[in-house]
């Protein structure tokens, strides 16, 4: 069985994502009942998006990593691992052998879990299966086994669905979005770690009284919310501190601003390819499960417009940089970079845990990202390997430069599974099973409702904004 899987893995690797993904997407579309021309178009657009993404990832190239190196040496901070950001990481993860198969496998696994009643979430956010592909990719790097990588990706999908089910009552109420849940590890993945801290800081009375007004924060720090401006500023600062000439300083600023705009544009093309498939999956399921209610699993992006989440996300920008510097004696080597624009995703599902209080959300964010920076440093070799074995045009100078992805490598489940799957297979299997069973009972016994967190917190009502429809 595992020999067959390894052979499949090798075969996929030889063909590469540009050939495999369109075929997989087309076949999946046909199974889900799409017309052949639509299914084929989806597959083709997906492949085109990959051509574009691999071209633009080249912008991150050699220059950036040499500047990172110079920065680390000149400033003596030891921050020599550069954060490539989630848009690039997503594409790279989809480009791995596990990533090639993750969408059909993810949909199938989700359907099976729905049928046997282990989850109430129908995850139509198939784009975010890249988080599971990412886990698979780093596990494949460290174990060399395609079978274990698939298993790790599957475990992370089940964890995401459980977290979505568990948090659904709280999320639906806080954000006033009935019928949805968020199986999106980029936000939900931080929740489990944050819950005990949330319990704690909710009981520190004076913190609650230091109310920060989300609108003031948004107006003051609004520029940091525009990724191209953020990219320009960070790029210039980095090159300046690295002691580059003025042409290189300005050039780097423009280059990073370009990364912030162009890679996401390419990712939007990928979404264009995947959306009709997601629609088909949703219709396929609703037809067959008529009368049953389930949560529609969405990207945590739907929560981000909330004022608290936005404000906390903006405040996370300077905090992540300070954390990286402060934690460098403790082993952090990650230089927060492209994913500085990602703060709202970290904050999105932490805010409901503290009844939408901006300051408390930022404190929780700082705790999970502080721990997360150590994970990103530990995962850098795996991420670097993922980049260098992909079809992307990134030159990594031999020997020293390394990359990581702040958003995803910082998620506790990423490092947890990476670590777990290095242990003997039996141990990994048993522990995974225990985690899943534990999460299942956690979901059953300890409902993540408001009561746990919003007792005596009148801010809850004020902070949760009304949904866009009213």
């Amino acid at each position: 069985m595992s020999a067959i899987l390894e052979a499949i893995g090798n075969f996929l690797n030889t063909l590469g994502p540009l050939i495999v993904l369109p075929i997989v997407i087309t076949i999946l579309g046909l199974i889900l009942g799409m017309r052949i021309d639509r299914a084929f178009r989806s597959g083709l657009v997906t492949a085109i998006a990959f051509v574009g993404i691999f071209l633009t990832i080249g912008l991150l190239g050699e220059k950036l990593s040499t500047i990172g190196q110079a920065f680390a040496e000149r400033t003596g901070t030891g921050l020599d691992i550069i954060d490539i950001g989630w848009p690039a990481a997503a594409a790279l993860a989809f480009g791995t052998p596990v990533g090639n198969l993750i969408i059909p496998i993810g949909i199938a696994l989700n359907i099976i879990l729905l049928v046997i009643g282990l989850t109430q979430t129908l995850d139509i956010d198939i784009w975010n299966f890249w988080h599971m592909a990412f886990v698979g990719a780093i596990v494949q790097y460290v174990t060399g086994s395609f079978a274990l990588a698939l298993l790790a990706a599957a475990v992370s999908l089940v964890i995401a669905l459980f977290l979505a089910d568990w948090s659904a009552p709280l999320i639906q109420k806080h954000f006033q979005m009935p019928g949805i849940s968020i199986p999106h590890l980029q936000s939900a993945g931080y929740m489990l770690l944050a819950v005990p801290f949330a319990w704690l800081i909710n009981r520190i009375p004076f913190l609650r009284n230091l109310k920060l007004d989300p609108d003031t924060v948004r107006k003051r720090l609004g520029l940091l919310g525009e990724p191209i401006v953020l990219g320009l500023i960070i790029g210039i600062l980095l090159a300046l501190l690295a002691g580059q000439g003025w042409q290189d300083i300005l050039g780097t600023g423009i280059n990073i601003a370009a990364v912030m705009l162009l890679i996401p544009r390419m990712v939007a093309i990928l979404m264009e390819g995947l959306t009709p498939v997601a629609d088909a999956a949703r219709e396929f399921m609703t037809k067959r499960f008529a009368g049953r209610t389930f949560h529609i699993g969405l990207d945590s992006a739907v929560l981000i417009g909330n004022p608290t989440v936005l404000a906390a996300g903006l405040l996370m920008v300077p905090i992540e940089i300070l954390l990286a510097l402060a934690l460098s004696p403790l082993g952090n080597r990650t230089l927060p970079f492209i994913d500085l624009a990602d703060g709202p995703f970290v904050a999105a599902m932490l805010a409901p845990l503290v009844a939408g209080d901006v300051l408390l959300t930022v404190i929780l964010g700082a705790i999970v990202m502080g721990i997360g920076l150590i994970f990103t440093t530990l995962l850098a070799p795996a991420v670097t390997a993922m980049i260098s074995t992909s079809g992307a045009a990134v030159d990594i100078p031999a020997g020293y430069a390394a990359y990581t992805v702040m958003s995803d490598a910082a998620i506790p489940t990423s490092y947890g599974l990476y670590y777990l799957f290095q242990t003997p297979v039996v141990v990994a299997a048993i522990v995974s099973l225990l985690i899943l069973v534990g999460l299942y009972f956690l979901k059953r016994r300890f409902t993540l409702g408001e009561k746990a967190f919003t007792e005596s917190a009148d801010v809850a009502e004020k902070a949760s904004t009304k949904s866009a429809s009213d």
Binding site: F175, E226, R282, G305, T465, S467, A468
Partner: protein
């Protein structure tokens, strides 16, 4: 021509899903409109140049006064999608 902003958290993911839905629908209805995807953080109340904002995330209060705002989530989940599309059409082609 009417202008539509499609707003989500990143200007990439859910707004693309909504764009495909809305563009397909407008083509069927024979309505022309200029569609632009935006990040919610790029919205500034004094720089809004749109007749309609379709958002998959909540929109700051000061922006709400500048254009009609429609919740785009039903277009993604499928629940209530037809009502949402009808509302979009009403805003773009007010019965005169």
């Amino acid at each position: 021509m009417k202008k539509i902003y499609l707003v989500c958290a990143t200007g990439i993911a859910t707004s693309t899903m909504v764009r495909l839905r809305v563009e397909g629908f407008l083509r069927e209805q024979g309505v022309e409109a200029a569609v632009q995807q935006m990040r919610v953080t790029e919205l500034h109340a004094d720089r809004i140049d749109a007749d309609l904002i379709i958002a998959t995330t909540s929109i700051p209060a000061d922006v709400r006064g500048r254009a009609q705002v429609v919740d785009g989530i039903p277009l993604i989940t499928g629940q209530g999608a037809n009502e949402t599309l009808r509302r979009i059409l009403e805003i773009l082609q007010p019965a005169s």
